[in-house]
């Protein structure tokens, strides 16, 4: 399984990660190693087998769509790297 530089860069972009040149080379090697190993799944007898969606084959779990007030707004906001007037602050978008 060959992974190209362009592919890694594309994947990193999808994942919102910047990779330095030396990181790209390292991750290509790692990824190739792991994918070569992971390829074994293609030998499994999966003809006509359904995909699992998790562990249990459960029904949907519903709950009432009710608004619950979180009692401590300050505690929620204390982790925000930047905030103003009780709101999360980000750089100008438009």
């Amino acid at each position: 399984m060959d992974v190209s530089k362009e592919e890694i860069k594309h994947i990193a972009k999808l994942a919102n990660l910047n990779l330095k040149e030396d990181e790209i080379d390292k991750y290509i090697l790692n990824l190739q190693d792991i994918l070569n190993f992971a390829n074994i799944v293609n030998n499994a007898p999966t003809e006509g087998v359904e995909e699992a969606i998790g562990v249990q084959n459960k029904e949907n779990v519903f709950r009432k769509d009710e608004v619950k007030k979180f009692s401590n707004r300050e505690e929620l906001l204390q982790n925000a790297p930047d905030k103003e007037n009780g709101m999360f602050k980000i750089p100008k978008v438009i």
């Binding site: 994947i11 790692n30 792991i34 699992a52 750089p91």
Partner: protein, 489 residues
């Protein structure tokens, strides 16, 4: 008597008979932490002052005849990926270095309800990704049996702290072996419950369809007791199962007569250390002597399980870790001009190399062009793995395997070779893929004195069966009385 040598059920008895107070117990553990933590490095955050304060309050309540739980005042340690209100929850990541959760995880609520003082938050591989605790952003935890060896991972801090007797017991989490493998490498007991038995609410998600919280303890009875505390339905976790409340301690009968044990041959093949095999063969003989029937069997798709696991776990991780964007919580880069920069640079600077590796792998297997070849295929294999185990449990009550293919390896030995590190999960991952319960107990040591673990796998929600099987063997070999970590340097 050394307080820190006692199991929790022994401590509980002594509390009841008023031979010990919570304060004495908590103090003994704090003294032990002060003595051993500098060698072991198991904690990310210590909360010993609060623990002692709480212990004194509980003694006061007991003295005044107030109705408190039998376990009240017995301390615990918590893996640092479970949210604790007011105390940092870092996931051993730079990304969450200063994160203070505004709420408690359900398991933490349950512990608080019983009033078990928390001694602190325990080290782990960053975001629970790893098998050695070397991928922690903060520190490398050492194996108490030999300080040059890894404790396993990702719950390496929890297992090392229990082995070093710095906590009476601890909570860990297990996505592909992260409770059982470190328990095995540190010579303690680790139980991964059936998927859905313990609420994941407030557990920082790695791979949501595989993650499960469970106990790491000195013996099997303690594991049953801690499972009693944390099991139960929770509507805040939609995958939480609705099952009747059980008393798992009652399941410990010290009797395996008539128990049917299957030994899947795929778990004794290439890559499994000879001494590990020999030790398990002794266990098999002993089970037969004790009246169980043991038979070789086969889990046909076991060879595909590890690859399937890494595809599914990384895919889910790449999605789960998308939330770390430097806006609402977590690390934010200093280096940005626009919003996109904040996302990218915060993630690139905040995540460590292994986390990025898994996000990249996960994004790759989910990306168009590769989805069918990897992710879809892996989900089909997952169905096969579930079917194979279901077939095995028509015939057997318990499956017996090694927990880890080898004993603890040296620090630095595998950290630069991700694939090699992944191979240390080979015996444990299929249990998560199929959502089954699995327990690891120590069954011996190798020539160098490092502990060897045995894994017992049960059918869904059959924790009682594996706990009893583990307990019965534990009673017959008395590992804990024969061996003890030596903190070799």
């Amino acid at each position: 008597m050394n307080i820190t040598d006692l199991t929790v059920h022994e401590l509980m008895e002594k509390l009841e008979k008023k031979e010990l107070t919570s304060e004495e117990i908590t103090k003994a553990y704090i003294d032990r932490i002060n003595e051993k933590e500098k060698d072991v490095d198991a904690f990310v955050t210590l909360t010993t002052d609060d623990a002692l304060k709480q212990a004194k309050e509980i003694d006061e309540k007991r003295k005044n005849g107030e109705d408190v739980s039998k376990l009240a005042g017995i301390p615990i340690g918590i893996k640092d990926n479970m949210c604790t209100k007011g105390v940092k929850t870092t996931c051993s990541s730079k990304m969450l270095e200063n994160f203070i959760s505004p709420y408690d995880a359900t398991v933490v609520e349950k512990i608080n309800e019983i009033q078990m003082p928390s001694l602190g938050k325990l080290n782990m591989d960053e975001f629970a990704m790893g098998g050695s605790t070397e991928y922690s952003y903060f520190k490398k935890t050492k194996n108490p049996w030999n300080l040059n060896k890894v404790p396993g991972g990702s719950s390496g801090g929890s297992a090392a702290a229990v082995a070093a007797k710095m906590v009476p017991w601890a909570l860990g989490s297990d996505t592909g072996g992260s409770i059982r493998q470190p328990a095995s490498l540190c010579g303690v007991v680790g139980l991964k419950p059936t998927y859905g038995l313990v609420s994941r609410f407030g557990l920082v998600a790695f791979a949501s369809s595989l993650d499960q919280i469970g106990p790491i303890t000195k013996d099997v009875k303690d594991a049953a007791m801690l499972l009693n505390v944390i099991a139960g339905h929770d509507e805040r976790d939609t995958t939480s199962a609705i099952v009747e409340k059980k008393d798992y301690v009652k399941a410990l009968k010290n009797d395996v007569k008539g128990l049917k044990i299957g030994v899947p041959k795929e778990y004794f093949g290439e890559g499994i250390n000879e001494e590990v095999k020999e030790t398990l063969e002794e266990a098999i003989k002993k089970y037969e002597e004790l009246g169980a029937t043991v038979e070789e069997c086969s889990i046909n798709v076991a060879d595909y399980a590890l690859a399937t696991y890494y595809i599914i776990a990384c895919a889910e991780a790449s999605s789960n870790l998308g939330r770390f964007d430097g806006i609402r919580y977590g690390y934010r880069t200093k280096n940005y001009e626009n919003l996109k920069d904040i996302y990218r640079n915060s993630r690139s600077e905040g995540f460590g190399a292994e986390v990025k590796r898994r996000i990249i792998l996960g994004t790759y297997v989910l990306s168009s062009g590769y989805y069918d070849a990897y992710y879809k295929k892996a989900q089909q294999v997952r169905t096969l793995v579930k079917q194979e185990f279901a077939k095995a449990f028509e015939k057997y009550d318990v499956l017996l395997t090694p927990t880890s293919p080898t004993v603890a390896f040296n620090i630095g030995e595998k950290s630069e070779n991700p694939l090699e590190m992944y191979l240390s999960d080979i015996c444990t991952v299929s249990v998560n893929i199929a959502g089954l319960p699995g327990i690891s107990i120590p069954v011996g040591v190798d020539k160098s004195g490092m502990p060897i673990g045995m894994q017992l796998i049960g059918n869904h929600f059959e924790e009682e069966t594996i706990l009893n099987a583990a307990y019965t063997y534990e009673q017959s070999i008395k590992f804990k009385e024969k061996y003890e970590p030596e903190f070799k340097k």
